[in-house]
């Protein structure tokens, strides 16, 4: 039988709930603080046990605290996620219908893209094609900002990718809804949105996983086909592997939608 929850667990859950996602070290700090406030047993290496106690109580409610890795820096994160898709969960009031449609279309672009990024230009061009209710580009820009604030998207230099929070919550959904396109990392076996892909056999690896995997090797070779790994190994060159690849000339100038009037 699952261990009983204490106020320390409840406080931890409340704070995580308010943030949606927390970085590993923050979560560890919170764990400690909650135990101190409520004077319950604390051991610094018992965070995962602490969380699994909470999870056993969240399970009937189709909620869970999940651990996942940031695709950018490889750090662990904890997110409180919803697991159910029901009539009730659809009553969420955070976003309007067309905002959600824009989000899904942006998600499409990101997942179907090669490097896991979609430019703001591409996403904003969707705004007046929404089926539910068209949006002005200005509005769409605002909505994108909110998605970033709410940690569903991340933005770098005008390019958007899925936030770690979104990946943690939506992993199963993406894997089943984008069966043919979604990739799994060959190292950690989780969904990979931003990844490097082997030129010869096509397997994918997260950038932090690439970094870790090749750290010990003199010559980088694909773990699958053993061919030479021709991508830049992040952290080994001066190239900033975090920033999205350069984009075409049109991207940095005007967006036009000549077919709309």
């Amino acid at each position: 039988m699952a261990a009983q929850m204490t106020d320390a667990h409840r406080r931890f859950l409340q704070v995580l709930m308010s943030h949606g996602i927390m970085e590993g070290s923050e979560a560890r700090k919170l764990h400690r603080r909650c135990c101190e406030i409520h004077k319950v047993y604390y051991a610094h290496d018992k965070l995962d046990d602490f969380i699994s106690t909470i999870n056993s109580h969240l399970q009937p409610l189709f909620m869970q605290i999940r651990k996942g890795m940031s695709e950018g820096d490889g750090r662990a994160h904890y997110a409180l996620v919803n697991l159910a898709e029901t009539e009730i969960t659809k009553m969420a009031s955070d976003y309007t219908e067309n905002e959600l449609e824009l989000f899904r279309k942006a998600m499409d672009l990101i997942i179907l893209s090669e490097n896991g990024f979609a430019s703001s230009t591409e996403i904003l061009n969707l705004a007046d094609q929404l089926k539910t209710k068209k949006m002005k580009k200005k509005e769409a820009e605002q909505v994108l900002k909110v998605f970033v604030e709410d940690k569903w998207l991340s933005e770098r230099n005008g390019e958007y990718t899925l936030h770690t929070r979104c990946i943690i919550e939506m992993e199963q959904y993406i894997l089943s809804n984008y069966q043919d396109v979604a990739r799994k990392c060959n190292i950690c076996h989780s969904l990979a949105i931003q990844s490097q892909v082997c030129e010869s056999c096509g397997i994918a690896m997260h950038l932090p996983c690439v970094r870790k995997y090749f750290r010990a090797q003199t010559e980088p070779r694909c773990p699958q086909c053993n061919d030479f790994w021709s991508c830049d190994i992040p952290g080994t060159s001066r190239m900033d592997s975090q920033s999205p690849s350069k984009t075409g000339r049109a991207e940095k100038s005007f967006i036009l939608s000549p077919r709309r009037c």
């Binding site: 409840r10 406080r11 704070v15 709930m17 009937p60 409610l61 009730i88």
Partner: protein, 248 residues
């Protein structure tokens, strides 16, 4: 017996707004609920409890109070005969798992809110967003009302807010349409009650605490806040202090 009750109850479902009273006498008694409960499978009831907890959490996203009518219509449906049991268990789950409390703020119309059972710790690392700033505006208004004797005229409230660079007619850089925030959002969330003062021309309004304010904070806390801001002891305001200490 329970059949009669249920058919009576179901006639109520068309009222989406649920403002019409849902008579307490129509609610099955405890022993009836127990009997009804036996006819339902445990799994089904548990499932309803889980759904209700989800529903309450979803509805609390915008801090709009939750009406029993909505709960019945959207979640309970054909389980009306065991409603009281389901809502009690959902309340217990919210308490045991999340440290949240399901509070009935209007026992006549059966309106519920969620509050936290855990007092916020000093410097607690909660998410800071636009809601945080709104809370600041709210406590100022609540303070003003309480300190002025639990009621304040709209003119006085806005005159006071103007001193804090909050103008009803202007778009505020943090709050946007601040008039709407105060007179609609805070009212809908039941933090404030605004009622017209009869026989006033142009019409004047009376601002008072709404039931959510009394549950989420207290006169004592608001007085502590005022005292902290003004660098004084709460006892400085004798009558407010007396009143705050006498209010549970």
């Amino acid at each position: 017996m329970s059949q009669r009750k249920r058919s009576k109850v179901s006639g109520f479902s068309q009222g989406d707004d649920g403002d019409e009273d849902f008579n307490v006498s129509q609610t099955p008694t405890h022993s009836q609920v127990q009997r009804n409960l036996e006819r339902r499978s445990q799994d089904q009831v548990n499932q309803k409890v889980s759904e209700l907890v989800q529903f309450l959490l979803v509805k609390d996203q915008k801090k709009i109070p939750i009406k029993r009518a909505d709960i019945l219509k959207k979640v309970i449906r054909e389980y009306r005969d065991v409603y009281s049991e389901i809502i009690n268990r959902a309340g217990r789950t919210l308490q045991e798992v999340f440290g949240l409390q399901l509070v009935e703020i209007d026992t006549r119309h059966h309106i519920y809110i969620l509050t936290s059972n855990l007092p916020r710790a000093e410097g607690e690392n909660l998410r800071r967003d636009n809601q945080t700033a709104k809370l600041g505006l709210l406590i100022i208004i609540l303070s003003f009302i309480f300190m002025r004797g639990n009621s304040a005229k709209d003119g006085a409230v806005w005159e006071f807010l103007r001193r804090l660079r909050v103008q009803p007619g202007e778009r505020h850089e943090v709050f946007g349409d601040v008039k709407k925030l105060v007179t609609e959002e805070f009212v809908r969330q039941k933090y404030l009650e605004i009622t017209p003062i009869p026989l006033t021309d142009p019409p004047e309004f009376k601002y008072q605490w709404g039931p959510r304010a009394a549950k989420e904070t207290s006169k004592k806390d608001v007085l502590r806040f005022v005292a902290k801001i003004q660098g004084k002891d709460p006892t400085f305001w004798t009558s407010q202090y007396t009143e705050a200490e006498a209010t549970p």
